[in-house]
Symmetry: C3
Subunit: 316 residues, 3 copies
Amino acid sequence: LEKAGTRDLSFLGHPRYRKYLISTRAAAVILKPENRNDCPAIALVVENPTLAYAQAAALLHPVAHVSAGIHSSAFVHPSSQIAESAQIGPHCVIEAGVGIGEQVSVGPGCVIGKGASLGDGCRLVANVTVCADVKIGQRALIHPGAVLGSDGFGLANDRGRWVKVPQLGGLRIGDDVEVGANTTIDRGSLDDTIIEDGVKLDNLIQIAHNVTIGAHTAIAACVGIAGSARIGRRCSLGGASVVLGHLEVADDVHITAMTLVTKSILQAGMYSSGVPAQPNALWNNNVARLRQLDEMADRLKVLEKNIGERNGDRKP
Amino acid sequence: LEKAGTRDLSFLGHPRYRKYLISTRAAAVILKPENRNDCPAIALVVENPTLAYAQAAALLHPVAHVSAGIHSSAFVHPSSQIAESAQIGPHCVIEAGVGIGEQVSVGPGCVIGKGASLGDGCRLVANVTVCADVKIGQRALIHPGAVLGSDGFGLANDRGRWVKVPQLGGLRIGDDVEVGANTTIDRGSLDDTIIEDGVKLDNLIQIAHNVTIGAHTAIAACVGIAGSARIGRRCSLGGASVVLGHLEVADDVHITAMTLVTKSILQAGMYSSGVPAQPNALWNNNVARLRQLDEMADRLKVLEKNIGERNGDRKP
Amino acid sequence: LEKAGTRDLSFLGHPRYRKYLISTRAAAVILKPENRNDCPAIALVVENPTLAYAQAAALLHPVAHVSAGIHSSAFVHPSSQIAESAQIGPHCVIEAGVGIGEQVSVGPGCVIGKGASLGDGCRLVANVTVCADVKIGQRALIHPGAVLGSDGFGLANDRGRWVKVPQLGGLRIGDDVEVGANTTIDRGSLDDTIIEDGVKLDNLIQIAHNVTIGAHTAIAACVGIAGSARIGRRCSLGGASVVLGHLEVADDVHITAMTLVTKSILQAGMYSSGVPAQPNALWNNNVARLRQLDEMADRLKVLEKNIGERNGDRKP
């Protein structure tokens, strides 16, 4: 809105930007009914401006067409099945027994391990690693540097030394999944790791072995989900939050940024444990007290008892 | 200082290492005036020993010379413009319309998307992905696995399903920027993501779409900056800290490790919310109380009232 | 146990899964003596079922044999020394002076910088970057996207601008080390970064310059270790925890998830500072009080004083 020119389509998706509406130079603005009267341009009135903008932008800027064919510098094992309409970019490596569907685009430098499969319409941008036997549904969009199906962190301790637990499970990814840059998703140790349909993962996320992420859940950057956790459907996880292993998180749970989930969450709702910043001097004082909080609570109890005793039967 | 041999140049940059000065075997030590008298070797007295050491080390160990030329295994689209003095390493992919300046070194396995440009003297170490249309200034140093210009995490919700918001903006990086290994910087959704001159980013950092990082700001590893945040100039962000979306952080703000910034910070200074470790048993007690802290505060108020009443008009 | 079929070997390694034992259809179950009587299948009774399972699984599913040879699409500098029994995958880049031991497998798209060396039996899965002069011991297992030996984040400030401190140290990795996907380990600035024998690193971990990780220490995903920290032997670090720079952590220290270590830990034991999630409304109230905690502590003291005064000599 603020910087739009006279031939631009803009939208008002967040109240924070309402202040720019009245002076926008945009040719047209997608907005909610309640903002219509403040719009100096053509108003496209909808209930969900962000959605309408997404749809308009997708129409005006379609994703580049897939140019069918295998680049001469790509290495494709002869036992792989590559659809005629698929595009395999320069310096890709497609190992034995891989299956690649129609209209798939595998960008430069990707490695697809043996036995893996990519459903129709998948797009791997560049330098993506898909490990052996990973199964990806239709229309996945995988950003650069993502690693799908790496070994889980499974260790047994033998008198002080770690012995690797072979990671024999797989990774199954549903339809319409997006995986951000440098995000890692481990394969299962025995069963599979499962990413259901419509899951959206931002950058630099860690999904450990045997995790299940329910359909249409969205996870922001820098989140870590530990082994065997089960995240429900339509959840959202804020940036840098962590879910410990073997926990269950119900459907429709929303977790704010930098929250640590240490117990299963069985009820829909919003959960938090992130601590907001303060000026350092104030914070240092407060956090010092936090480390004595149990003692403070005991002192409070003693006071209450003393007051109560002096008050006779009256509760303080 | 501790391990230097008799032909080594050393420096005393941090008071923590002063204890090693008196017994060092180094041939010469760069140090501050106040440490001169304790130095058993040749003392090179300066105001900023770390800076003087950096400059001396750069003179003594110059960066390897760029060997002009395109490796025979690289794929370079004929429409790209590669300066004569640039070096393109093995298995690189340079897509259509890319511009690469003088003395640029593109290390092995890098992918440069169509329309991107790298200013003079840039160095991409290896396996870096630069997405389409990203503009990088002069003398950038990009470490392995970094992803520059990936799609932002823009989603609109359509009755429980996520619809991708096309990411049509770009990424502009100024001069003298360093980007750490496996760090990701997303392109903007409509406007550009902007990294100003002299910004230094450590490893595994996430910079979301439409973020601006002001000139000469340094960010430690594992930090996440959410969408549309604006970080000022000459700031520093400690490791694993997080800045939420749409916030503004003023110039000269310093944020300590693992801090969560939830509101704009409009004044220079140091800010924190990281909680220091304690022995687990103590911490468990304290954190249990933290979860009852609001109730404790209410009980404290009741006590104060009771005491106040008994004291008549006297405030407790 | 839950999903095992009638020809499967299963194991009971975590009490959480005991409930599935009685109804399992597995052919045989590895378990502890105390669970023997509840086992409807062949019971393989051992003290450490996870370890026994790891060993059995490794026997039943041996790692794929290394097919000696250099792929025709790999670029190998003639000055490198590659053992006859080693395998170099498609599109690998092996720079000058590299040494690669017996039975090493370098997967597709890996880059090995000049002067680096890989001991016998190392396995780099795919798209791994090993920077110049990094020394790796025997039997390392390095997952995709890992970056070993990138520059540390060394900066000196020159009147508001950052000057790079050349990173002249190396990275030495012992025997039997595992490094997770997209994990980054920086080289030292002058001395080396050191990863001792048997260290196991999960995904997306940052190890900064000049860090030492003691033998047989295991680190979960998303952890950051800042520069020059020294972590002891047989430690474990929970996910997303952070250790600040220049600290020392003793042997046998265990740090739970999302803990911030701000001071050296000189005694073995378990340490924490992660804050567990609460329903958002409760948490907002509690965290608001946390930001006033120092003032609350002062008010508590005043109350104690008032009560004490009223009680004469009696301490509250």
